[in-house]
């Protein structure tokens, strides 16, 4: 696993690996576009100018990144502790709906926003709790329990949207978050709200938690070497509980910042088109960001940019937006290879500045330390 302490050289190598996986991803995407008769060059041009071309595009990219940072953190905390938490998706649905629920009441603005966020965070954590309990008490693998809970959350959300939170005037969506509960927009005319600060703040908190506290050390120790960690007296069930509850917090928060900060409707529609997939995309963002909160911020902005630019690509090159997800899947697939750089060692031989020469030390298993 990538979970190891590393120095500067190691970080550069991780970065190189990400860049190579990215290049492969875009190459595969281009290949598929050619196969289906699209022009990859004009598509990618539209994609990148639509992602980072001007202030409007960049604001949209940041707006897309806002929930992705948080769902990526959910995965990253788990991954650092040696767990594969892919439950952000379902926790995010319920977090978003919990935030909407608060708008059934009349509250002053400050208290309203705070309560909506707290409700969302708690909803995420409550949905995460069974995963932790099943894993700690019964040894159920979190991949299976989180996926099942994601599906259960989806149908629960469908029920809540259709029956409990339904807008009396428009049956296809929930009530909108009340004016007092909306996060103020940062750039007028775009989707970018103050939610981005919430996400950045959460990333810093998680960074400090993982690298500056005892429990963070214990989590990383458990991920690095569970046997040694257990021998050192770290109790596994505590780590499991902590990792999944914290992950539930950030996933629930992701739902809240999205629904409270995303114009124009500030509501969740039946079928949840606007929030579906944010959890799984967060997973890819976490991997591209190498499961480090700072890396995740950049990966989320990059990926949020691809989603924003994907709309331009769809408009100008007729390439469906989903192409972005094909690229993303390929990138993740290649990121699974620990020695990707050696796999592409010809790049090293021809001394493309992309890959710096790095003196590497190896442990017994052939992984870079």
């Amino acid at each position: 696993m990538q979970d190891r302490e590393m120095g500067f050289a190691g970080r550069i190598e991780e970065l190189n690996k990400t860049v190579i996986a990215g290049v492969v991803g875009f190459a595969v995407g281009a290949l598929i576009m050619i196969l289906y008769g699209y022009d990859p060059i004009s598509a990618y041009t539209a994609l990148f100018s639509g992602a980072f071309g001007d202030l409007y595009s960049f604001s949209e990219s940041l707006a897309n990144a806002t929930p992705l940072i948080l769902t990526a953190l959910t995965f990253a905390i788990g991954f650092r502790g040696g767990m594969f938490n892919i439950g952000a998706e379902g926790q995010l649905y319920l977090g978003a709906l919990a935030a909407v629920t608060v708008s059934l009441f009349h509250l002053p603005s400050g208290i309203g926003i705070a309560l909506s966020i707290i409700f969302a965070i708690l909803a995420g954590a409550i949905w995460s709790l069974p995963v932790a309990i099943l894993k700690a008490a019964r040894g159920v693998h979190e991949v299976i329990s989180t996926i099942m809970l994601n599906w259960i959350a989806q149908f629960l959300a469908f029920y809540l949207i259709a029956k409990i939170l339904v807008d009396p005037l428009r049956a296809e969506k929930t009530i909108s978050v009340a004016e007092w509960g909306r996060l103020p927009l940062l750039v007028p005319g775009t989707s970018l709200s103050c939610g981005i600060f919430v996400s950045l703040f959460a990333a810093i908190i998680i960074y400090l938690l993982l690298w500056r506290t005892t429990i963070g050390f214990d989590i990383r120790a458990m991920g690095y070497n569970p046997l040694a960690a257990t021998y050192a007296g770290i109790e596994k069930w505590k780590i499991i509980l902590f990792v999944f509850i914290t992950g539930g917090f950030t996933a629930g928060l992701a739902g809240a910042v999205h629904v409270m900060g995303r114009p124009p409707t500030y509501a969740v529609y039946g079928g949840m088109p606007s929030i579906k997939g944010l959890g799984f995309e967060g997973l890819a963002v976490a991997m591209i960001g190498r499961n480090h909160p700072i890396g995740i911020i950049f990966a989320a902005i990059f990926f949020g940019g691809l989603l924003a630019g994907g709309r331009m690509m769809q408009l100008f090159s007729q390439v469906p937006l989903e192409m972005v997800r094909v690229v993303e899947g390929t990138v993740v697939l290649f990121l699974a290879i620990p020695e990707l750089i050696r796999f592409f060692s010809f790049l090293r031989k021809v001394r493309i500045p992309l890959t710096f020469r790095i003196k590497r030390s190896q442990n017994k298993e052939g992984r870079q330390l």
């Binding site: 299976i144 599906w151 149908f155 469906p320 997800r325 993740v332 699974a336």
Partner: protein, 299 residues
Amino acid sequence: MNPGYLWGIFLGSLHAMVPITLASTGEVVGESAGLFNIGLEGIILLSAMTGALGAEAGGPIAGLIVGMGTGFAIGLVFGAICTYFKGVQLIAGVGINLFAAGLVTFWLIHLGVPGHHAVAEESMLVNISTPVGDFSPMILVAIVLPVLTYVLLFRTKLGLKIRAVGENPQAADVSGINIHLLRLFSTAAGASLAGLAGAYISVGWLGSVTKEISAGRGFIALATVVFSGLNPLLALLGGFIFGFFDNLAVWISTMPAVQQVIPWQFVSMAPYVVTLLVVAGVIGRARFPAAMGIPYERE
């Protein structure tokens, strides 16, 4: 309630059983060899798409073969990454799922009607007509394959080798088995069954492709493998249990009387809730190969 009605439910459960049993039987082989493929969901999804197109081009049997081929090809990529390149299996599996979800949605848009592709009637696999009801020939395949897989794994030399590379790759290596190659082909063979499951869903059962056609069945298959403790015969039984609840949700959705009491959303949760409960209940006795999930590396 008349017996014919119950028989109908039974047949419906059998139809819903097929994809889960096929995918989990394949995964039993892969996991016996030490590879844990959470990309099953993506394989089922993508091969439902390719299988449907294959069937429209060359008939239902061609569709099933194309589906299997798709599964095998993805299995080879996954297997190569996780053996020769020592990749992290869970991450590679997630990559497959993301890739398939993106490509199938992209493909559906490309085909014209976004989000949905109906398989032409004449390209569908014809059900066997019997006096007691029509059923898909794939049900027979899904019953026979786990038995054959059981014989392969526990009664043949190849099966012993497969289990050896999952249990103790060092020892297997010393005895002259090519660990990477055997693992590669075990997981690819397993993935081809997931591909068959996907093609069955579109060509032999539901008759359409949507971006959510796999509906978590790949993950339910993974849960079935846990339930089975890597015994293909129990994977057959587990497949039937999950198929029953899968079918139950569809069946109840046709009954307005029941829906008055229980909203359809809660009925649709049933297969997932049952999966969670069953896995939580049996996990204590399930035992997996010692080297599962660990890339093999010579000392």
